[in-house]
Symmetry: D2
Subunit: 145 residues, 4 copies
């Protein structure tokens, strides 16, 4: 896969920085490649559910952003990315010192891009896949940011 | 449908209050019935995506909690609720003064409960359905809170 | 909702008749309205799974067709419909004398249409909702049938 | 991963042979390993949609069976497998001389098993991934076949 535009990484990072949700949740960009984005987040009790694990919706926020920005890296300079739909499965409770959200493009089209992602909980040396996502992303042209 | 236990509403509200994510996102309980929970959230730029709409993962957090707590209202006193999986579809951008998250039980079983929900954006007198969810919830017994 | 074209019903029925899968499975059109299609199928052991219930994929075939054709009724004359993705949940075993597949458009756009559907098992006077679907449909223009 | 029972493969194949849907669709078992099942199907116009591609529901039937039987290989001798829900995405039209359905267990639990699968269209030397699935399977004990 190749970047959709010479400025793809800059545009992706600028869009990421404009996401209030990512800043508030403490989610940051770990790595960007064409069609792949990896994000990271430390455990934060402010975003827990009632057993003290991270909330499924917060885990999904990280996976959705990783997948959406992975799709954006392949889009042309006129395109913005919007989430059409996603499905998340929760394999294990979201506990750990930190979480890694990986998003990958599976098939990129002019309008729709299919993506897959996952959440890895990190606890010292131990890594556990705790959630997966499949998401459909849409390129929207002419949308003012 | 009937509450699973005389203390169902109290237990549901206590669990809700223990969710750091709900407090941090400013999501509150609007209404509880057997098998139905309605939550509310004012627009908050701290949880936006890059066009200034609410982040899809935050909208999903509200819908997931509404559905999970709707399932919990029908469970027995020994059961805790965990999200197995959900799928969310995003019909329109999440803009509005506030958002209403509705969660309904479609079919309750001893182990699995099927739920459906939706997000209504409210702008003055205007209400718009902007997202839907279908979620599978699981009753877990013997889990310490 | 209004038909997308004066010939919408004729086009929908012609496309339906061209679906080998519908004929082979014995699925027929029960009712068509703008944005809504209802199909029917008698129980058929040739499409069972290993407990003698109807196979989840066959039930999904009926719901997918109901939703896709519901979307098609609102599209313009140049558009064909393709399924982008769907999620099905199986609330109860698929047993019954016959099955009714209902598909409804929730939100129609120029490119994407969001739909919801369900399967009702019919046994004499008794009707049971046994499955639900949410499906994203895409209008494709310039595709030769 | 290890087989759930010394007779896992025999039980899986016996259940497969009892599925009327698999026989009628011409789907056969290509390979079985612990937690992985691969099925195959030749192109068949009797299961087409209206453009002559294979119907999305038929493709899903193959993926659902591959995933369900993959889950069954890890279950104990008293367990039967039922599909709780699945989501399928359709990356490309289902055309080809034959189709390979791959199902893999991602996480096996006592009650729920998470699986992923895909469909590969085969046309001479060319292989194309045309669809993906994520499915939740449930072990049911005490169900008479």
């Amino acid at each position: 896969m190749e970047y959709g535009d010479p400025q793809s990484v800059e545009r992706m990072r600028a869009d990421f920085d404009r996401q209030g949700a990512m800043q508030t949740m403490g989610i940051t960009v770990s790595d960007v490649k064409p069609g792949q984005v990896i994000l990271g987040m430390p455990f934060n009790p402010k975003f827990s559910q009632h057993h003290g694990f991270m909330h499924a919706g917060v885990i999904t926020s990280g996976m959705d952003s990783a997948c959406g920005f992975a799709a954006l890296t392949l889009m042309d300079a006129e395109s913005e990315v919007l989430t059409v739909e996603f499905k998340s499965s929760f394999l294990a409770p979201a506990r750990g010192q930190s979480f890694r959200f990986e998003g990958d493009v599976i098939k990129a089209g002019r309008t729709l891009t299919f993506t897959e992602g996952r959440t890895i909980a990190v606890d010292g040396d131990k890594e556990t896949k705790i959630a997966t996502i499949t998401a459909t992303m849409m390129a929207v042209r002419g949308l003012k940011p």
